[in-house]
């Protein structure tokens, strides 16, 4: 009885979560432009999607920004964790409190604050300002993923390497980095997905004439939804599904902490 109830509950919630997405997927293969009636199978909307230079540029922007910002954030964040380790606990706490601000703050506030900052400095908004913003909100996630790995055990392993004659550099490269690796990896992944997913902060920092997937969806929805967006949804869903599957399998093998 209890089991049956839980199963029903799970099914209802799953339908709630996935039915809307599947509706989009079905409509993406619809011949007509209708948002309700399925008139016949076609790939027209996929053709339109791939022929749209606007959307294709947005896709390129989204992924180059995500890769660059996640890489920079991972480097700065990892270095930060290493440097923080050398500081007194009190200093560390103050810095980590500041680190938490972008995560706890509402995205709209982060977006507005960066927009104002660029306006004050008269920095023309575009690709570079989006990149700067994305690095800013990604660093805290990297720090939070890597920091738990910088613990007593890592300290001891470093000491063990030094004890066995390794130089500081060698011990860091051969022992500390491998120990931090799972945290670095999940930090990078987290930063990457946050960047791909972000709309609000990008929206306020992008300026005119540049788009990412998120901002182009927003502007198109305002004008009127075209089914090519359903095609885009379908592709994104499949890519996310495959990517998450790979990460999940890998994380089981290599104990990468799978964060949200």
């Amino acid at each position: 009885m209890k089991k049956a109830l839980s199963s029903i509950y799970i099914i209802i919630i799953m339908l709630f979560l996935y039915l809307p997405i599947f509706a989009l997927m079905v409509l993406s293969f619809n011949e007509a432009k209708s948002m309700a009636v399925f008139t016949g199978f076609s790939l027209n909307w996929y053709v339109e999607l791939f022929n749209s230079r606007l959307i294709m540029y947005a896709v390129v922007n989204t992924f180059t920004i995500a890769i660059i910002s996640a890489t920079v954030a991972t480097i700065i964040g990892t270095a930060a964790v290493v440097g923080l380790d050398a500081m007194r606990p009190k200093t560390q706490n103050v810095i980590l409190a500041a680190n938490n601000i972008p995560m706890l703050n509402a995205d709209i506030v982060t977006g507005i604050s960066l927009m104002l900052f660029f306006l004050i400095l008269r920095v023309p908004q575009g690709y570079m300002t989006i990149l700067f913003a994305h690095i800013t909100f990604s660093i805290p996630y990297v720090v939070l993923s890597v920091r738990p790995r910088m613990n007593r055990k890592t300290d001891r392993l470093f000491e063990a390497a030094m004890d066995l004659g390794a130089s500081r550099k060698y011990a860091f490269r051969k022992v500390v980095l491998p120990e931090l690796r799972p945290g670095i990896l999940s930090g990078f992944l987290l930063a990457f997905t946050m960047s791909v997913d972000d709309f609000i902060i990008t929206y306020f920092t992008k300026g005119a004439g540049i788009n990412t997937i998120s901002t182009i969806i927003y502007s198109q929805v305002k004008i009127g939804i075209r089914p090519s967006l359903f095609a885009l949804s379908t592709i994104i869903f499949v890519v996310a599904f495959v990517a998450l599957l790979i990460v999940n399998i890998k994380s089981k093998k290599q104990e990468v902490e799978l964060v949200l």
Binding site: S6, G83, I108, I112, T154, I217, V221
Partner: protein, 272 residues
């Protein structure tokens, strides 16, 4: 032994100062400055104008309602996941993480397609001979969108905490004579507080500050505080007023977080 020099943290510290602290201070600066450059509280006081106050009230109400709905759906879900063999790292967790990896604008758009006057739901309703429903552009549609978008952010933190509750604690409670209800209210719920608190944070704050969901499912007819701030920046280019209202909103965020932290004595609500 110290592994490396603290200088390694300096790019990080510089980035926090330039990318986080100075921009936030510039909101404070603009929020307290009038157009001619003098110090003023008018931008803050603007929240008491009729439209703004109404928007803030509606935002608080909708955010509160969707947070409560999310919590009511998520807690039983987390408990089921905990006991399920598909729970830990398994299929079900995967199911709840996947929507988060999909762009939330597309997810919101999906509801627009479903709820539209000529959308999927109304087509089905007319097909079976029922009257059309005007769900779109109502506060109800916005709540639906919020719950849909943010539900996973409530389920996962609660699941993470609930799944780590030591089984022996529950056994000890039963051993000491507690019944199921007592175990639930006196052991499971108190131990889940960190997860509940971080779940509420992750739902309430984005819901309170959103302008996207209200724009897409409210058809521009329903103004939340987020919409008003957004318009001050993008349409009216009145940064002073926009900053002032943002400051007021930040106050509400900080108050709600302080209230939440009172409940979470461990202070260790985890996102992970």
């Amino acid at each position: 032994m110290i592994i490396a020099n603290k200088k390694w943290a300096s790019p990080f510290i510089i980035w926090i100062i330039i990318g986080t602290i100075i921009p936030i201070l510039s909101i404070v600066y603009y929020g307290m400055t009038s157009k001619d450059g003098g110090v003023t509280f008018a931008n803050l006081g603007a929240i008491f104008s009729h439209d703004n106050l109404q928007a803030l009230e509606l935002s608080l109400l909708l955010a509160l309602v969707s947070t409560i709905i999310c919590l009511l759906i998520a807690f039983p879900m987390a408990m089921i996941l905990k006991d399920s063999k598909y729970g830990k790292q398994g299929f079900l967790i995967f199911v709840f993480i996947l929507p988060m990896w999909m762009n939330f604008l597309l997810r919101t758009m999906a509801w627009q397609v479903l709820l539209e006057r000529n959308g999927v739901i109304n087509s089905i309703l007319t097909a079976v001979g029922l009257p059309r429903q005007a769900i779109m552009n109502t506060p109800g549609a916005i709540i639906l969108g919020m719950v849909y978008d943010f539900l996973p952010f409530m389920i996962l933190p609660i699941y993470n905490v609930v799944s780590k509750i030591d089984k022996h604690l529950l056994e000890a409670a039963y051993d000491l004579g507690a019944n199921k209800i007592t175990v639930f209210t006196k052991v499971i719920i108190p131990l889940s507080v960190p997860g509940i608190v971080s779940g509420i944070t992750m739902v309430f704050i984005p819901a309170l500050t959103t302008f996207v969901i209200s724009n897409m499912l409210g058809g521009g007819k329903i103004n939340l505080i987020g919409n008003i701030i957004e318009q001050e920046f993008t349409v009216n280019s009145n940064w002073y007023l926009g900053s002032g209202l943002s400051l007021v909103m930040m106050v509400f965020i900080i108050i709600s977080m302080l209230l939440l932290n009172k409940f979470d004595k461990t202070g260790g609500a985890s996102l992970v």
